[in-house]
């Protein structure tokens, strides 16, 4: 039996708790159907208007702050790098010339130029901290912000609450967990991972639908028989992986029988012009898919711009193989991001979704101010830039400032914990709440005293 156990009960007007609601949802054959859900929503049991969603764009590899969103034209050549700054549609804010389209959206963006972390300068630690707010220590794996959102608020109808596109982060050299799962909340709260490339011609979600020869009656028969056999063995209930496997089957049934879910993943329902606007590449189509999923009720979508830093052109511009050169970033990575990001912003705005959807664009660290002998830049967690748009945040501003060479925060230093706290704040999650940690130990959502970035809100 799938169960979404919550640390906090939310009581609805008719006396139901959210726990009851979710429990019923998982008991019923196909989950709570969309019509039931809508009925509840129309009765005011679920106030959709107030609920915000999030799309997290994770710039895996660690974009260079100096070559992207924090240019330093007055610094010496070996620091400022090969690109010139360009003006944006907000007076006083300039970004690198490799993002001409983004420059037209600075009025929507809250740019934070003073993020830093103090852990080891490997990709994996930054992934952990930027997605969960914490570094993993003493054997405790913390949950991704999207999993926390899903855990506290449950899925909307049949569709998963948190989806990762196109795949989970792969190896980036540290052999550490990346913080893209539910961690101690338990694997039942892990995100749904697409595991496919939506830019491929015959893209579909792998195995989402039964093959044609399996009629509805047979699907039902299989399921009943399976449950009969499974009931016998109580010992499986004491093992977390065995419980998880059962929960996965329940989730699979729910997803398979949902028209809403099926259509949400179907990119062929989009006009070609719309698809092309996002860019006919993996990241572009993931951004488009993210928009469709949010429309269909997904609460949180995480898009990984890349899956690994090896043998792929990414933000990881060490300058030498198997990593990326500055030129590779200029000709491939930046145009791809520039196009998809601006398309996503415009599209969400046109559809009236931007106000309720936070777009958080994050990276795991910055890069060395001084260009290395290979012509690239190495890992530098001492200072980098992230930016937010939508979800009601204050656009058209820069929060924090780096020093003359983009090496350290000059004022208003911001930690990864504060970045994640800001996401929680926008999503309406009480920062004072606690999560059920390992062995029922309550763990605070954020460490005591961690504040969201007030300037953005």
């Amino acid at each position: 039996m799938i169960r979404f156990d919550h640390s906090k009960r939310v009581t609805f007007c008719d006396g139901w708790t959210r726990r009851d609601f979710l429990h019923v949802g998982s008991l019923s054959c196909a989950g709570l159907s969309l019509s039931q859900f809508n009925a509840m929503a129309s009765q005011g049991d679920i106030d959709e208007k107030k609920e915000k969603n999030c799309i997290m764009l994770f710039n895996l590899g660690g974009p260079s702050q100096l070559d992207t969103w924090d240019p330093k034209p007055l610094a010496p050549a070996e620091i400022r790098g090969p690109f010139n700054p360009i003006a944006t549609n907000v007076n006083g804010i300039s970004i690198s010339e490799i993002f001409p389209r983004m420059a037209q959206h600075a009025d929507k963006m809250g740019l934070v130029r003073s993020v830093y972390h103090t852990a080891a300068a490997v990709h994996d630690t930054g992934h952990q901290m930027m997605q969960t707010g914490r570094l993993f220590e003493a054997g405790i794996e913390y949950p991704h912000a999207g999993c926390v959102h899903g855990f506290l608020n449950g899925p909307r109808g049949e569709i998963p609450s948190h989806v990762v596109l196109p795949e989970s982060m792969g190896p980036t050299g540290g052999n550490l967990p990346h913080g893209q799962n539910a961690g101690f909340l338990g694997k039942t709260h892990d995100p749904f991972v697409l595991n496919a490339d939506p830019s491929e011609v015959d893209f579909k979600v792998p195995d989402l639908l039964p093959p044609e020869y399996l009629t509805a009656i047979r699907v039902d028969r299989r399921r009943r028989l399976r449950e009969l056999v499974d009931e016998e063995a109580e010992k499986f209930e004491s093992n977390s992986n065995a419980r998880l496997l059962d929960a996965n089957f329940q989730q699979a049934y729910t997803l398979m029988s949902s028209r809403n879910a099926r259509e949400a993943f179907d990119l062929s329902l989009e006009k070609t012009a719309v698809r092309e606007r996002y860019g006919m590449n993996r990241f572009g189509q993931c951004c488009l898919l993210a928009r469709r999923l949010i429309e269909a009720g997904v609460r949180f979508v995480t898009v990984n711009t890349f899956l690994t830093v090896f043998n792929e052109i990414t933000w990881d511009i060490h300058g030498s193989k198997p990593f990326t050169s500055v030129q590779g970033m200029k000709t491939i990575v930046a145009p791809m991001f520039d196009q998809a990001y601006s398309a996503l912003l415009e599209d969400l705005q046109d559809r009236g979704l931007l106000e309720d959807t936070l777009i958080a664009s994050l990276g795991e660290f910055g890069r060395t101010p001084k260009i290395n002998p290979a012509g690239g830049r190495d890992h530098w967690p001492q200072c980098w830039s992230v930016f937010f748009a939508g979800g009601g945040i204050q656009g058209g501003q820069v929060v924090g400032e780096s020093d003359d060479i983009g090496g350290h925060p000059k004022d208003r230093p911001v930690t990864p914990a504060e970045v994640v706290a800001s996401i929680y704040q926008v999503l309406g999650i009480d920062l004072e709440s606690a999560l059920p940690g390992p062995q029922e130990r309550p763990l605070p959502l954020v460490e005591y005293g961690v504040q969201p970035i007030r300037e953005l809100l």
Partner: protein, 833 residues
């Protein structure tokens, strides 16, 4: 209790106190021992105070039944027999006064105990030493941690070596850089190294210590006395020891730890104050920066103690709140030494063992774990019918001799050695795989296997093992993956700096690199044809000073640069020496995890002092037996499989439900990707088709991990890119459930001509179909209840009337397809249990 027996207990306990410190098997405070009044002892027992700066803090432990059960230091009053030699305060801190001997006594109510101590060198001037004191302070205060000035790039232009691994360079950084402002000899209090951490001027790392602390005194007095640097004559730290090493405690109780360091000149120091304490599992034990451990939950908690780059561990145990009669452990099945150690551990933690599993469970479990296939219906029924008492032993011997045994273990070691056509041409990949396979088939002793691997040379198509060097052209990659594969140890961190979690230094690392720096390769004419040979020159420079280091295997002794032949032979000798604990343990741990679902050390690739085994005595016993058997892997497997510990039921009994670590019951394992796919083929009678492989080839027979298969990838097959058990995943996921439900792998097998058709052709009754399916998939007969429930459900779905006999046949087939599907996706099938 009578006066006489109390005295006896006291004597016994005091006599064994020293033995206790070095560890012994802990027994839970059973009903019997709780009646015994505790005695007290002082720790540490060996106290010599050398010089004016010396201090020693004492701990008073309550002892019951030869075990430390409580920290009673706070309750004790201390007394020095001769205050002209040393004084002791009421926290147990001894301060030396003058050279000589005296006794320190601790008293709690009627209990009393004492130790003799010695004070030396009080007349000699005592100076703080850079290497042993200043660096200790900087390390304890985190100044040189990876997050602060120990980062590769330093912080704010101040860069120290990580945890002080290079004293000379740190000394120069402190005294020479920034125009000497960091230390000001003429006015020590104006030194930045004191102004910053005390918060007198702004410091990114905040305030670290105050001006009235001992830390401040050490640094300021060191500066005032002339900032002497590290010297050849410094006494070097040789070892550290934590007290108590083991303690039995109740949840929420606290135990203070004390740490002594021994130096090369023979003197001992209490270094507790500058040690760092860490805990591996904060849910069982937490520890303060001062070394006070508090138990948070039941089980065994391990605290790691660091002093400079030396490590020791202390274990604190809190038995589960069960009262298990001692007979439960005495009468539990005990087939070989594994069970003896496992039961001792269970008894100490008060976790009852589950009974042995049924014969059905055993045959299925043993087949899957040892050879990766299911027993046939015939094999299962024969085994169930067999009345012999020795039938499990006989089955194990039979499995070890099966050809599938070779498939299974060749696959496993190919994972370990990264056999894959991703990085090797097909011909070379096959040559490497065949070499592994031949070794498994002949049960080559593991030390010879390792030797042949690490000293391989010659043509890669003739000697498959040479491909190991082709896969790792950079000697740095080579030593890193070799260490993980053969010693279960990651030394990658030491490539750039001292290992932060282990004792390995960057020098150890480059000594290892030198062992392999003369291996060269030459491409031949054919694909995959490479000749691996040894050159008489070629070195890899150490990145810090640009000079190569003498070849040296980790903590082995170095050899000369020239004229020593194949340096790899020297490495191989050190590696496979029976005194090298890592080599035998790494293999034992891998084999153990294969059968028991969890390594004695987790994760399996992470053997290090700071990551202790869940049952050290068992681990040591297994490793010793493995060495004694001449590194006989098959013998090790036989021993594990014949233990009662392996044969316990996966069903829990009251009191062991929460145990996932101490082997009180068999741990459920999801079948691995390859085994699962093969089992689907076996039960449906429809083999998987792998491109370019003959029909009927099983997944476990593939030499290569880069054969396209969505199924294998989604169920967690490793890529074989990095040597790490973590490459393989056995976690269930939503994609797997979707794939089994809707994907082609299982569905196509059910639709293809196979077992279902054979059952239909034989015209088996539904009940017999059910029975055969259960035996084939689950190695058991269906229960009456299952039979009835399933047959009723089958009929509910069978349409009453069908017009055409053809339709009837088709519908019956679909009915069976669905029945097969239900069994093959059930948890009883997907798990080994």
């Amino acid at each position: 209790m009578s006066q006489v027996s109390r005295i006896t207990v006291l004597l016994v306990s005091v006599c064994t106190a020293i033995g206790l410190c070095s560890g012994g098997v802990l027994k839970a405070a059973s009903q019997k021992s709780q009646d015994v009044d505790p005695v007290i002892v002082i720790l540490p027992t060996d106290v010599v105070l050398t010089g004016q700066h010396a201090r020693q803090r004492l701990i008073v432990e309550a002892v019951v039944d030869k075990q430390f059960v409580a920290d009673w230091t706070e309750r004790a009053t201390f007394r020095s027999a001769d205050e002209q030699v040393a004084v002791v305060d009421q926290s147990g801190m001894i301060t030396p006064v003058a050279d000589g001997h005296t006794r320190i006594t601790a008293q709690i109510d009627q209990l009393q105990t004492s130790i003799s101590i010695e004070v030396r060198n009080m007349k000699k001037p005592s100076r703080w030493n850079f290497r042993n004191h200043v660096l200790s302070v900087l390390t304890k205060m985190d100044c040189n941690s990876g997050a602060c000035h120990g980062a590769a790039a330093g912080k704010r232009n101040f860069r120290l070596t990580l945890r002080g691994y290079d004293p000379q360079s740190d000394y120069e950084t402190l005294t020479r850089e920034v125009l000497g402002r960091r230390v000001v000899k003429t006015r020590p209090s104006h030194s930045l190294v004191l102004l910053k951490p005390t918060g007198a001027v702004s410091h990114g790392g905040g305030k670290r210590f105050s001006t009235d602390s001992l830390e401040y005194r050490v640094i300021s007095e060191w500066i005032a006395s002339g900032t002497s640097g590290p010297s050849e004559n410094d006494s070097l730290i040789e070892s550290i020891e934590v007290f108590p090493k083991q303690a039995l405690m109740k949840v929420k109780e606290t135990q203070q730890l004390s740490v002594q360091a021994r130096f090369s000149d023979g003197h001992i120091e209490d270094v507790t104050r500058w040690c760092k304490f860490e805990t591996a599992d904060a849910n069982i034990a937490s520890v303060t920066p001062q070394g006070a451990v508090t138990l948070q939950g039941y089980g065994e908690g391990v605290v790691t103690v660091w002093y400079l780059n030396l490590v020791d561990v202390a274990r604190v145990t809190s038995p589960f709140p069960n009262t298990i009669p001692v007979e439960v452990f005495q009468h539990a099945e005990n087939f070989n030494f594994i069970d003896r150690y496992a039961l001792q551990k269970l008894e100490s933690l008060q976790i009852p063992p589950s009974p042995l599993c049924s014969d059905s469970q055993f045959i299925r479990r043993a087949f899957l774990d040892a050879i990766g296939i299911l027993p046939t219906v015939q094999e299962t029924t024969n085994f169930l019918k067999d009345r012999s008492l020795e039938k499990r032993r006989a089955l194990i011997d039979m499995l070890l001799a099966r050809p599938e045994f070779i498939d299974y273990w060749s696959y496993k070691w190919s994972d370990l050695l990264l056999v894959s056509s991703r990085r090797l041409p097909d011909e070379a990949m096959w040559s490497f795989y065949t070499w592994v396979r031949r070794s498994v088939a002949s049960n080559q002793p593991w030390d010879e296997f390792a030797h042949d691997l690490v000293t391989a040379r010659g043509n890669t198509l003739n000697n498959g093992a040479s491909n190991f060097f082709v896969l790792h052209k950079d000697p740095k990659d080579l030593i890193e993956n070799t260490s993980v594969a053969l010693m279960g140890m990651s030394i990658t961190c030491a490539r750039c700096h001292n290992h932060p979690l282990e004792k390995w230094t960057q020098d150890d690392y480059y000594g290892m690199v030198s062992l392999f720096s003369r291996v060269k390769m030459k491409n031949g004419d054919a694909a995959g044809d490479v000749t691996v040979f040894l050159s008489d020159q070629g070195e890899v420079p150490h990145p810090r000073h640009g000079r190569p280091l003498n070849p040296q295997p980790l903590d082995g002794s170095p050899i000369a640069m020239e004229g020593t032949g194949d340096r790899r032979e020297f490495f191989s000798q050190w590696l496979t020496d029976s005194e090298n604990p890592y080599f035998s343990r790494a293999l034992v741990n891998r084999v153990w995890a294969n059968f028991m679902g969890r390594g004695l050390v987790e994760s399996v690739d992470d053997l290090r002092v700071t990551n202790p085994a869940s049952n050290e005595a068992l681990f040591a016993g297994l490793a010793e037996a493995f060495v004694d058997s001449g590194f006989n892997v098959r013998q090790l497997i036989r021993t594990v499989m014949n233990s009662a510990t392996y044969q316990r039921s996966s069903e829990t009994v009251s009191g062991n439900e929460d145990d996932q670590k101490y082997y009180s019951h068999y741990i459920l394992k999801r079948l691995s990707a390859e085994v699962l796919l093969d089992c689907f083929s076996q039960v449906t009678g429809v083999p998987t088709v792998f491109a370019n492989y003959p029909r009927g080839w099983r997944a476990l027979q593939l030499p290569d991990s880069s054969i396209d298969s969505y199924f294998l990838d989604s169920f967690g097959r490793p890529l074989r890119e990095t040597t790490c058990e973590c490459e393989r995943s056995e976690d269930p996921s939503l994609s797997q459930a979707l794939h089994l439900s809707n994907g082609p792998t299982l569905n196509n097998k059910l639709r293809a001509k196979g077992a279902i058709d054979r059952m239909l052709e034989k015209g088996l009754a539904e009940e017999s179909v059910l029975e055969e399916l259960f035996l084939a998939a689950l190695s058991r007969y269906p229960s009456d209840r299952e039979k009835e429930a399933i047959l009723v459900t089958l009929h509910e779905f069978t349409p009453a009337e069908v017009s055409q006999p053809e339709d009837e046949k088709k519908q019956r087939r679909q009915l069976y397809e669905d029945l097969f599907w239900a069994i093959l996706t059930g948890r009883e099938f997907l798990f080994n249990h």
